[in-house]
Amino acid sequence: MIRVSAQLRNTIQRTTLPLLVLVSASTVLLGKADEMMLDSVRTTVTDGFAPALDIASRPLVAAGNLIDRVRGAINLYQDNRRLEQDNERLMQWQQSALKLAADNKQLRGLLKAVPEPNVAYVTARVIANSGGAYVRTVMVNAGSEDNLSRGQAAIGGDGLVGRLTEVGARAARVLLITDLNSRVPVTVENSHRNAVLAGDNSERPRLAYVGSPENLKIGDRVVTSGEGGVFPPGLPVGVIASLDGGGARVEPYVELSQLSYLLIVNYGLAGGLPQPVPIAPHSGRRPKAAPPPDETSVR
């Protein structure tokens, strides 16, 4: 009796490892063959882990803030000088912006232009990154409970960061513009040339389909073109940083390796991404009422 069970245990022990090797190898193949199927599993697991990651990332944010404070205190004098100069310059900009806004409003009235849609923001904190994997994504601590949905744009301080590709109830994944699978329709501002910003996992994504590159200059601003309907036109993305052999590379405005807070923006355009297969039935939580537009909610 005892011998049989020991033998059985031995057999199980011996077969577990090769069996699991087989299972993981087949998962790799399965994931490649049918990405949608494993997506719902991924969303569920991500959602489950989100609270733990949220807590784990908090001390890091606090530490980052502390370092910033210390650095700020050390550079107080220079920062103040710089800010005073900036302020002076920006005041002039403000005057011209106000004048342009008034002109714009008046001209829109004359043209009977359709008003721009109201924009709703959600501020979310980055709780996980891609940890050396061959993808460039981050996870944020907001999800469909906060009215996020697939395809919405994520913006950092100065420009576009990426878009939501996977939204769970409490967490969502942002595909950064540097990822191999990221394609963003953009316009190069000075030459009004349309192109596609194609990520290749490097820090500077490539401008694809740009046609003849002779009109491009280093330092040209690159903004979203709004084509394809996923992003609104005019979101700043970056500047052309290098031109080589007919290709241009763009330095994003946002430092993508040091993201801590992101603004997820709902322009009412999020129809640009196909929906994944239906996910498991709703967990029974009641969705929160939609916040009024133009209101910023912070998590």
Binding site: L20, V21, V28, L38, R42, S130, G132, N201, S257
Partner: protein
């Protein structure tokens, strides 16, 4: 004969329940450290392979306390959370176990330099294989520079990780 590759040597049993969880807990911690967003420029792409360190250490010293299923679960969770292709990390960790178990007897009572050299070889093998697999899955040649930096960083940080894991091991569960 072939299955002997995967067989596990008999090891002394430890009595304390909580201490027996130490290898699993440190492996989970390694997975966590990999994905939390540290505010270091370029960290996300160059994160050292902490999971590899934990898997290597425990497979040498206490393979009984970090069973294949634990490696599979942690690896799969890691893939799901980082957004990478699912199964790649689990496969890598399990193959590390297969490889290390074969040569385990040479490592157990050797000095640290020998163990470190073994880890260097393993890191090269594992990360280059992972890079090749990702290239295959993405149907394109991915830049190798980041992988090279990751290998160097991983090998450089291993002594510290090994020291901490060894200390914890001696304090809680004793040597294998």
């Amino acid at each position: 004969m072939a299955l002997n590759l995967f067989s596990m040597p008999a090891l002394p049993r430890t009595n304390s329940g909580a201490a027996r969880l130490f290898p699993l807990m440190t492996t989970i911690l390694a997975a966590l450290v990999t994905i939390v967003p540290l505010q270091i420029p370029g960290y996300a792409a160059l994160t050292p392979a902490f999971l590899l360190m934990a898997a290597y250490h425990w497979t040498i010293y206490r393979p009984d306390l970090l069973p294949p299923f634990a490696l599979f679960a942690v690896g799969t969770a890691e893939d799901l959370l980082t957004g990478g292709p699912i199964g790649v990390s689990a496969l890598m960790l399990l193959l590390v176990r297969v490889g290390v178990l074969q040569y385990r007897r040479y490592f157990v009572n050797r000095g640290f330099a020998f163990v470190w050299a073994g880890f260097t070889l393993l890191t090269w093998g594992a990360l280059v294989a992972a890079w090749a697999l990702h290239c295959l899955l993405a149907m394109t040649v991915l830049g190798f520079r980041a992988t090279l930096f990751r290998i160097v960083l991983t090998v450089a940080i291993f002594p510290l990780a090994s020291f901490l894991l060894g200390r914890g091991q001696r304090a809680l569960i004793g040597a294998g």
